[in-house]
Amino acid sequence: MAAVGSACLFVGLLTALYAVGAALYGARTGRRRWVDSSRFAMYALAGLLVTAFGLLEVAYLTSDLSLRIVVQSSSTDTPTFYKVTGMWSTQEGSLLLWVLLLSIFSAAVLRATRRTMREIVPYATAVLGTIAAFFLALSVFAESPFTTFAVPPAEGNGLNPLLRHPAMMIHPPMLYSGYVGFSIPFAFAVGALVTRRTGADWIRATRRFALIAWTFLGFGIMLGALWSYSELGWGGYWAWDPVENASLMPWLTGTAFLHSVMVQEKRGMLKVWNVSLIVTTFVLALLGTFLVRSGILSSIHAFGASTLGPPFLAFIAAVLVGSLVLVLVRLPALRTESRLDSLVSRESIFVLNNLVLVSVCFVIFWGTFFPLISEAITGTESSVGPPWFNQYVTPLALVLVLLAGIGPVIAWRRATPANLRRAFLAPVAIAAATLVALLALTPAAESVPSLIMFTLVGFVLAVVGQELWRGVGARRAMAGESPPVALVRLVARNRHRYGGYVVHAGIALLFLGVAASSAFVDQRDVRLRPGQTTEVGDYVVTYREPTARFLDDRSGTGAPITFGAVLDVRNLNGDERFTLNPSRNYYAASEGGGPMGTFGRFFQGESTTEVAVRWGMRRDFWMAVQPDLRALIGPIKEANRRFAGLPGEAQALVLAAIVERYRRDTPSATFRTLVSPMIAWIWIGGGVVLLGALLALWPTAGARERRVTSLYAARLGRELSRA
C-alpha cells in the first residue's frame, strides 16, 4: 500500500511538471493538442491523488501501524470518525489534502473552460501545475505521508485530544478548500496578464470558483470559532490568535475581490486593483497554510513545528515578486476603460468597501506579525493582544456594516438626490427607531460601539427587506404574479444579486451576536464544593454533585477517564431551571512516561474540556470545570507501590477505584461560567451567510436560461428593427 501511495505521489509530481511544460509549449507554438494534453495531465493528477488519498484513508481505517503518519495521529482504539479525519492533523496529511483539493479544483475549472479562453487557459494550467508540483515536491522529498517503519510499533499515539471535536475535523478541509480555491482566479489572472487579455473574461470564468473558495473559507472560519467556543474551555470564539488571523486575512481580501470584480465587469475599471487583490489573497492563503504548522508564531493551534519554513517562504516570495513584476510590466494593458461618473455611486461604495476590508486585513497582518517585526527591529519579541486588535478593527467593522447597507440600494454610475431619498428613507427611519428602542428599553447605551452596531444591523436588515419588497413589487407590476410567486421567481432569476443580499443580512446578524456577546458578557471564575451556590448574572448556580467515569466515554472522543460535575441552574425569577454537566476528559500519557508512575500516567496525558452550554436565542449559559485532582495523588502513589506489577485487567480495577475515590471524596472544583447574550446569532448569522452564498452559487437551469436569453435576443432584434 505504501509503495503504491508513494508511486502515486512521485508520478503525480512528474505529471504536474509535464502539465506545465505541455501547456507552455502548446501556448508558444499554437499547437492545441499539447494544451489539451496538459489538461488531461491535470485530470490524471487528480486521479493519482484521489488514489493516494484513498489508500491513506484505508491505512487509517485498518490502523496500519507500519505507516508513520498513522502512528502519529491514530491508534487502534481511536473512534472511527477520528480515524477517517485524523490524516489532516499531521503535516504530511495536510500537504496531501492541499494538493488533492488543488488537483480537483484545477480539473474542474479546466473542464469548464475547455472550449473557452484559448489564450489564457494554457498559462493558467501552467500556474496551477507549478503550484501542484511545489506541494508534491514537498510531499515526495520532505514530508511523505507514506513513510514506513521497519518495525511497526504495537500501538499508535492516537489523535491529539484537543482535535477530537466534529467541528475541528471538518474545519481543516473547509479552510483548505478556501485557500486552494483562490488559486484558480489567481492562475487565470496570471494567464490574463501574460496574454494581455485583461478584460472581464477571466473574471467571468473564475468568479464561481472565487465564490466557492470564499464560502468554504468562511465556513471553515466559523467552524474554527465554534470549536474554540465549545472545546477550548476559555469561553470565547475568537482570540486574535495568529492562526485564526491567518485564515481571516485571505477571506477579507477575497471579500474585497468579489465586490471589486463587479466594477470591472460592469465598468471596465479597477483592473490593476483586481489583479493585485487576487495575488494578495492567494499569497495570504499560502501564508495561512504555512502559519498553521510553521511554529514561527506561538499559537494555541501550534500542533507541531515544521521543517518546511525555508521552501514555503521561498515559494511565497517567488509568487509575490513574480506577480508584482507581471503586473508592473502589464500596466499599459490594465488601463481603465471608463472613469468614475460620481462619488455617490455603487462603484464608489465598492471602492470604499474595498479600502475598509484591506485596512482591516492590514491591521490584522500587522498585529499578527508584530512579534516578528518587533524582534527584527528591537531584538525583543513582543506581541499585541485582543484589546489592540479591537481598538482598530471595531470602528472599521462599523463602517463595513454601514457600507453593507448602503451598497445594495445605491445606483451604478450615479445616484440622484431623488434616488437616494427613495432608497434610504425607510431604512434610515427603521435604524432610528431601532436606536430609540434600544435606548429606551435596553442597557445597550453602556457600550457605544455596540449601540452603533445594533443600529446599523437594523439599517442593513431594513435595506435587505426593502430590496425584496421592491423587487417583488417590480415583478408583480411586470408579470402580474401573486406576491409569493413573484418573490420566488425574483430570487430564482437573480440568484447572484439576492444571494449577495442574504449574505449581507447574515453578516449583519453575525455582527449583532459579536457586539452583544463581547460587550455584555458576564463571566465568573469560582471555586465550589458540592452543595455550594454562587450567582452569575441573573442566575443562581448550585454544585449538586461530582461525576467520575472510567471507560465510559459519553463524548465519543475515546477518553478513558472523565471527571465532571452536575450543576443546578435557575434564574433569579425562578421561571427558568436547567441542569448542566461540564466535564474534563483525561487521556493517558505514553507508557512508562510521567513522574507519577504506572497509574499516575492515566491522569498526566492531555486533558480536554467538555463544555456544557444551555443554548438560547437570547443568551447562552456556558460552563466549564477544572477538577482538582490533588486529592488523588496519595491513592495513586499507594497504587503504584502496591499494584504496579498486576496484570492489565487487575490494574483497570485499581484505576476504577481511584476514579471512584474522586466521586466519593470530592475536593472543590474551579468553574468558569459565562452568560453571553445573543451569542447564538453569530452561528445563525454564519448559517445565513452560507445559505446566501449557496443561493448565489446555485446554477441556473440551462433550459430556462436559454429561453430567457432567446427572448432577449428577439427583443433586441425587434427594437433594432424599429430603430
Binding site: A41, A415, A477, R497
Partner: protein, 102 residues
C-alpha cells in the same frame, strides 16, 4: 521492487492517458471557431444578465429614467456587437431579428 513496479505501471497509465490528445489530428479551424463561439455565447449571456439587472434596478427606482435609458442603450449596443460577432461566425445558429431587419 513493489515501488518500482507501481511506478512503472502508473507512469505507463498516465502516459497513455495524457497522450490521447496528441494522437488526434491538430485542432481543425472549425473546432477553433466553435471555441470562439462558446466564448462569445458566454459574453452574450453575461451581457443579457447586465441588461436584466439594469432593468430591475430601474423598475425598483434605483436609477432615474434618463440614466437608465443611457445605460440600457449602451448595454444593448454591446449586446448587438456580440450578436454580430456571433453572426459572423455562423449566421444560421444565431437568433436573428425578425423581418430581416439586419
Amino acid at each position: 521492487m513493489e515501488y518500482a513496479l507501481a511506478l512503472l505501471i502508473l507512469a505507463a497509465l498516465v502516459a497513455v492517458f495524457v497522450s490521447v490528445p496528441l494522437r488526434r489530428d491538430e485542432i481543425a479551424a472549425d473546432a477553433a471557431e466553435a471555441d470562439r463561439r462558446a466564448e462569445l455565447e458566454a459574453a452574450k449571456e453575461a451581457k443579457y444578465r447586465e441588461i436584466r439587472d439594469a432593468e430591475l434596478d430601474f423598475r425598483m427606482g434605483k436609477v432615474s429614467e434618463a440614466d437608465h435609458r443611457a445605460t440600457d442603450r449602451e448595454l444593448r449596443g454591446q449586446a448587438i456587437e456580440i450578436l454580430e460577432r456571433l453572426d459572423a461566425l455562423e449566421p444560421e445558429t444565431v437568433a436573428r431579428p425578425p423581418n430581416g431587419a439586419r
